[in-house]
């Protein structure tokens, strides 16, 4: 049994509950024990780093200091939290005098997608796969901060990443080639400049559909909420038809591994994924 600390972050306790549930579900099937950090607080997200660098570092470092109290790695499912944590880690390594909390940069920070895509986990997934996702064409959408900046994420193929594609192949799905894998969806502007966000959404959804994907797969709660919730509204404005389900990679892992709660997770989506998966005989 593998053990790892777990920082869900605010979204996974709210709009991204199905991401939280599916991570917990899949971990259990793969014999990974999650320990949720006690008393975790918000990482500070975009608003902190857009306001004050030190405040941003402190809010992130507080959680990393909690995680450092034990010798487990820290699993982080939200890309925004992950990016803020990596920034705090970089700061404490380069300028330890600037970080006043008792955080020393010793806890390995693992983004959920990277964690589930490592060689050992892929082997496990292959062994335990109950239902291959045959015939399901997926557009792997990495978004921005899962890969950028590479000096923080360590992702080598940051212009054309392949790790989620490899995971999807292991699940039996068919990742389609497309050019918008790492383009931003603008999620941080969703409440303030919705017009910009809709334009970016239209581009991403249209390109995934042009690549003939049945669904788009992500590991970011902001990208998911952003792309999932506004399709109907967008259809009225552009006259196009989208209806493209936006799934978490962990939901598809759960489906391939035969988790019993998959339907519960999928019912939380605004753009219905059940119909597409049903049509492929997967549910």
């Amino acid at each position: 049994m593998k053990e790892i600390s777990y920082y869900p972050g605010c979204s996974l306790h709210g709009t991204a509950r199905e991401y939280d549930d599916s991570i917990r579900g899949v971990s259990k099937l793969l014999d990974i024990q999650l320990y949720e950090l006690e008393d975790w607080t918000c990482c500070g997200a975009s608003s902190a780093h857009c306001t004050d660098e030190k405040l941003a570092i402190d809010l992130a470092a507080r959680n990393l200091a909690l995680a450092e109290k034990n010798d487990r790695d820290l699993l982080v499912p939200c890309v925004a939290c992950y990016s803020r944590f990596k920034a705090a880690e970089k700061e404490v390594k380069e300028h330890p005098e600037k970080v006043h909390l008792s955080y020393h940069g010793n806890v390995p920070i693992r983004y959920a997608l990277d964690f589930f895509c490592d060689e050992g986990t892929l082997e496990e997934v292959k062994k335990r796969r109950a239902k291959p996702l045959s015939g399901l064409k997926v557009a792997c959408y990495y978004g921005c901060l899962t890969v950028r900046p590479p000096k923080m994420t360590g992702v080598r193929e940051y212009e054309n990443p392949q790790h989620m594609d490899r995971l999807m192949k292991t699940l039996g799905a068919d990742p389609v080639p497309w050019c918008y894998k790492t383009d931003c969806c603008g999620a941080s502007l969703v409440m303030t400049r919705t017009d910009i966000v809709k334009k970016l959404n239209d581009r991403l959804l249209s390109m995934a559909m042009e690549a003939e994907a049945d669904c788009l797969v992500t590991g970011c709660p902001m990208c998911q909420a952003n792309l999932d919730t506004r399709q109907e509204e967008l259809e009225k404005e552009t006259g196009k038809k989208y209806n493209l389900p936006i799934l978490y990679f962990t939901e598809l892992m759960g489906l391939a591994l035969g988790h019993k709660d998959v339907k519960k997770w999928l019912h939380r989506h605004i753009t219905d994924p059940v119909k597409v998966l049903n049509g492929k005989g997967l549910i």
């Binding site: 975009s46 608003s47 780093h49 857009c50 950028r148 931003c184 303030t192 334009k199 919730t229």
Partner: protein, 188 residues
């Protein structure tokens, strides 16, 4: 592009050194290849393109830069930073510019975005975690735009995506200390 006032530069460029020092980036290395602007997904909505922004800083156009829309609508996706042939972390410079703009005398080029950030931080300060419903209601009460996305909010509530009450958290004392330090720093 707006006209570049070279004379301002001749007075001694304190703005360039201020931004360079605060961000730790070598802004003078920019040779206007425009790769940053070519790859920026939001460039179409900006009043100053990323490459133009660097030139304006080089020329010391403090007001033009700090009252721009660009610094607020930049989504920090880091496409510009990873593609810059001179290794200038442009997204990081945008962070520096936002912080300078908040403390400047200029009216922000975008009305709602700085309000959103301040409401977001207030929510962390009072609740430790972001409770989405509190955040949305507070933001709406500040921008007086109550009906935008109301139907979507209801749909999300029915899907169990919106929690009515914030979760309890410990660590309030530490959060308070972090914000005290921030507010003290902002005053000085």
């Amino acid at each position: 592009m707006t006209e570049l006032n070279v004379r301002e530069n001749q007075k001694g460029n304190s703005f360039l050194s201020e931004v360079a020092q605060a961000s730790g980036e070598t802004i003078s290395a920019c040779f206007q290849c425009q790769k940053c602007s070519a790859g920026c997904p939001i460039a179409y909505a900006m009043d100053i393109l990323p490459n133009q922004m660097l030139r304006h800083i080089q020329y010391g156009h403090r007001k033009r830069v700090l009252s721009s829309k660009t610094i607020w609508i930049c989504a920090s996706c880091y496409s510009c930073s990873v593609r810059c042939p001179n290794n200038i972390d442009i997204a990081k410079i945008m962070d520096t510019l936002r912080a300078l703009a908040i403390h400047s005398e200029f009216k922000p080029g975008e009305k709602d975005i700085p309000i959103f950030h301040s409401v977001f931080l207030d929510t962390i300060k009072s609740k430790g975690r972001i409770h989405e419903l509190s955040l949305i209601l507070q933001f709406k009460s500040k921008t007086r735009d109550f009906f935008k996305d109301a139907a979507l909010g209801w749909k999300m509530y029915r899907k169990g995506k919106i929690k009515l009450f914030p979760s309890k958290f410990g660590g309030g004392k530490e959060i308070k200390e972090i914000f005290n330090a921030f507010e003290k720093g902002a005053r000085t």
